[in-house]
Amino acid sequence: MRSDDHSATIDVPHVESKAVIKGKASLLPAAAAVAARPVGGWKKGVAIFDFVFRVSAMVAAVAAAAAMGTSDQTLPFFTQFFQFEASYDDLPTFQFFVIAMAIVASYVLLSLPLSIVTIVRRFAAGPRILLLFLDTVALTLTTAAGASGAAIVYLAHNGNQSTNWLAICQQFGDFCQKVSGAVVGSFIAAVLILFLVALSAMALRRV
């Protein structure tokens, strides 16, 4: 652009200006290289945090599913009116809980490679948007499992007078404890996946 103007008007300073322009041009790629590296540096940190949170969310989801799945309790006695055995598959909500947490745990495991891709390729938006969408779906599933489990656990602890639903925790203490712990684990997984979605959103920023 500048060389064109100079070539249209003046001849003698043309040589000097070309040398000056070449000198400036040789400086520009170096300057650009120095400027490009720290500009996207924070994205790599965000992606590493994302990976760490992902591993923790997987651990929490697996723990919740395992705690609920192994929550059998058999009482050493029995009476005429009450059952003497309680297991998670007596309640369809708890069956849904185990299946949903298993699905979420396997999704998080399968998304670890995608997370590593976003660490390596900091500026690619495609994998990040895919992770954002899938993480949102996983958050919905985890929250659904946790909340429905919490509703049943609340009923098991307190019962309900209006509907004549008796609290079963008084007979089955261990079962109740394990099931409540599983619900807490699923809420921890939900909070971690919420952080994952927030991190993906922040990393999507155009720098």
Binding site: M1, A125, T140, A151, S162, T163
Partner: protein, 185 residues
């Protein structure tokens, strides 16, 4: 000459992506209004449940309201909070239509949308668990299904779940749209 041509080319490539960003923001606003209607409808449908049976027996109550079950109280509260949030986020969405390049406000909106999605899903799925129990009961826990006595109460609480779950789907779409708009140049 070369300079002005280069600037024109850059503007030409930027114009269609700015137009798509504007379209995404308009779709965002429309979906937000749909979700507002859904959650408000759910809250009102659950909150106005009141059924009184014309008879009574010794063992079964003769009146059913939403606040007999704490889970339904939580459902009404969650839906009310989410519809209030959606109403307050409409101005931000309109701002995004006008300024398609805003980044920080979009990130804030994504984070708030995700929190509201979690709250809404929690309320909806907890109520779904109780509605399932109300329809079917549970033999092992000796929990009787109450739907056989309270028909219209049961229909109302089941129907109010539909609006809530529809709003959950809309929220997922909203988050996806915001993410797409955020990453486009």
């Amino acid at each position: 000459m070369k300079g002005s041509a280069a600037v024109e080319l850059a503007e030409a490539t930027r114009a269609p992506s700015a137009g798509i960003n504007r379209g995404i923001s308009i779709l965002d606003l429309i979906l937000r209004i749909v979700a507002l209607v859904c959650t408000l409808g759910s809250a009102i449908a659950m909150g106005t449940t009141n059924e009184t049976l014309p008879f009574f027996t010794q063992f079964i109550r003769f009146r059913a309201e939403y606040n007999d079950l704490p889970t339904f109280t939580f459902f009404v509260a969650a839906n009310a909070v989410v519809s209030g949030y959606l109403l307050l986020s409409l101005p931000i969405s309109i701002f995004h239509i006008m300024r398609s390049g805003a980044q920080n406000s979009r990130i804030l909106l994504i984070i708030l949308d995700t929190s509201m999605l979690a709250l809404l899903t929690a309320g909806a799925s907890a109520s779904a668990a109780i509605v399932y129990l109300a329809h079917n009961g549970n033999a092992k826990a000796n929990w009787l299904s109450i739907c056989q006595q309270f028909n219209s109460f049961c229909e109302r609480i089941s129907g109010s779940l539909i609006g809530s779950f529809g709003a959950v789907t809309v929220f997922i779409l909203l988050i996806l749209l915001s993410g797409m708009a955020l990453s486009r140049r």
